[in-house]
C-alpha cells in the first residue's frame, strides 16, 4: 500500500513538501525547544474545550436534550463569536504543530480525515447560525424542521466527538 502510494506523484509531492518544511529555520527552531509542542498542544486543547462545549450546548438544544431559559436563536448568537474565535486559535495552534512536525500530520490519514471533519462541521455550523439569524424560529417552525434540527444536532455531536478522537489518534497511527 505504502509502496503504491509512494509511486503516486501527489503523495511524493507532499512528502517532499514535508521534508522541505521540517528543514526550514522556523521548523528547526520549534523542534529544538522541548516544551514547545506540549505548550501549543495545551492551548489547542483549551480552544477545543471552548469550541466543543459551545457546539454541544447548541446541538443539545437542537436535539431537544436540554431546555434552556434563553431561546435557541439567542443561545446560538451568544456562542457564535466563541465558536469562530476558538476555531481560529485551533487553526493557528494546529499550524504551529504542523510546522514543527510536518510528516506526523500531513502524511497521516487520521489527520486528513480530521481536517475534512473540521470543514464539514464549520459548514454545518455556519448554515445553522445563518438560518437562525434570518428567522429565530427556523428550527421549530414545523415538525419536519424540528426533526431536521434534531438530525443536524446529532450529526454535530458525532462530528465534534470524531474530531477530538481523531486528534488523539494522530499520535497512534
Amino acid at each position: 500500500m505504502t509502496m503504491r502510494r509512494r509511486e503516486l506523484i501527489g503523495a511524493s509531492l507532499i512528502e517532499r513538501f514535508c521534508d522541505w518544511l521540517s528543514a526550514t529555520q522556523i521548523s528547526v527552531a520549534f523542534q529544538s525547544v522541548n516544551w514547545f509542542v506540549p505548550l501549543v498542544q495545551t492551548a489547542h486543547i483549551i480552544s477545543i474545550s471552548i469550541l466543543l462545549t459551545s457546539v454541544y450546548v447548541v446541538s443539545f438544544r437542537l436535539i431537544g436534550l436540554s431546555k434552556g431559559i434563553q431561546p435557541l436563536a439567542t443561545v446560538a448568537a451568544r456562542l457564535t463569536p466563541w465558536i469562530w474565535a476558538s476555531l481560529c486559535v485551533l487553526l493557528a495552534t494546529g499550524m504551529l504543530l504542523t510546522i514543527t512536525e510536518p510528516a506526523r500530520e500531513l502524511l497521516n490519514w487520521v489527520f486528513r480525515t480530521k481536517m475534512l471533519l473540521v470543514l464539514l462541521l464549520a459548514a454545518i455550523l455556519a448554515g445553522v447560525q445563518l438560518r437562525l439569524r434570518r428567522s429565530p424560529e427556523y428550527w421549530s417552525e414545523s415538525p419536519a424542521r424540528t426533526r431536521a434540527g434534531q438530525a443536524i444536532g446529532l450529526l454535530c455531536v458525532a462530528i465534534g466527538a470524531c474530531i477530538v478522537i481523531a486528534g488523539r489518534w494522530i499520535a497512534y497511527v
Binding site: 462545549t53 454541544y56 434552556g68
Partner: protein, 160 residues
C-alpha cells in the same frame, strides 16, 4: 505505598491495559473527550464570575446550565484517568508533572468548596450583576488551575 501500587498495576484489567495496543489510547481518548467538556463548561462559569462572558445572564442560570456538564464530564474523566493510572501506577506516582497535576486537582476541589461556602453568600444580591471579590477570586483561581491541569496532563504524556 509502592507495594499498594504494584498490587494495583498487577491486577487483571490494569495488566490488560498495559499489554494491549489499543486499550490505553482508547481510554485516553475517552479521558480527553470528557476533559474537553469539563474544562469548557467550568470555564464558562469562571468567565461569568470574572465578568468576561455571559454578563447579561444571572450567575445562577449560567451555573445551572453548565455545572451538570462539568459534574458528568468530571466523573468520566476521573474514571478514565484512574484506569490509565492503574496500568502504570508506579511510573505515574514517581512522575513530577503527575504529582503537580494531582495537587492542582485538590486545589481546584478546595477552591470549589470555598466558593460554595463563602463565594455564594448573598447570591441574590449579585446574581444578575457583578460578582463580589471573593467570588471573582474563586473564578480566576479555578480558571488558572484548570488551564494548569490541562498543561500538566499534557506534560505527563511526554514524561511517562
Amino acid at each position: 505505598m509502592s507495594s499498594v501500587l504494584t498490587w494495583l498495576q498487577n491486577l487483571n484489567f490494569p495488566t490488560q491495559i498495559r499489554e494491549s495496543e489499543w486499550l490505553f489510547p482508547t481510554i485516553e481518548t475517552v479521558h480527553v473527550l470528557a476533559l474537553v467538556l469539563l474544562v469548557g463548561s467550568i470555564m464558562t462559569v469562571d468567565l461569568r464570575l470574572l465578568g468576561l462572558a455571559n454578563r447579561e445572564r444571572p450567575f445562577s442560570e449560567v451555573a445551572g446550565e453548565m455545572l451538570p456538564w462539568t459534574r458528568r464530564a468530571f466523573a468520566v474523566a476521573a474514571l478514565a484517568g484512574f484506569l490509565m493510572f492503574s496500568s502504570k501506577a508506579l511510573t505515574y506516582y514517581g512522575d513530577i508533572p503527575f504529582r503537580f497535576k494531582m495537587l492542582c486537582l485538590l486545589l481546584a476541589g478546595a477552591n470549589m468548596l470555598f466558593f460554595h461556602s463563602i463565594g455564594t453568600r448573598r447570591l441574590q444580591e449579585w446574581d444578575s450583576g457583578k460578582a463580589p471579590l471573593p467570588a471573582k477570586l474563586a473564578g480566576g483561581t479555578s480558571l488558572l488551575l484548570w488551564i494548569s491541569i490541562v498543561a500538566l496532563g499534557r506534560w505527563v504524556g511526554f514524561t511517562t
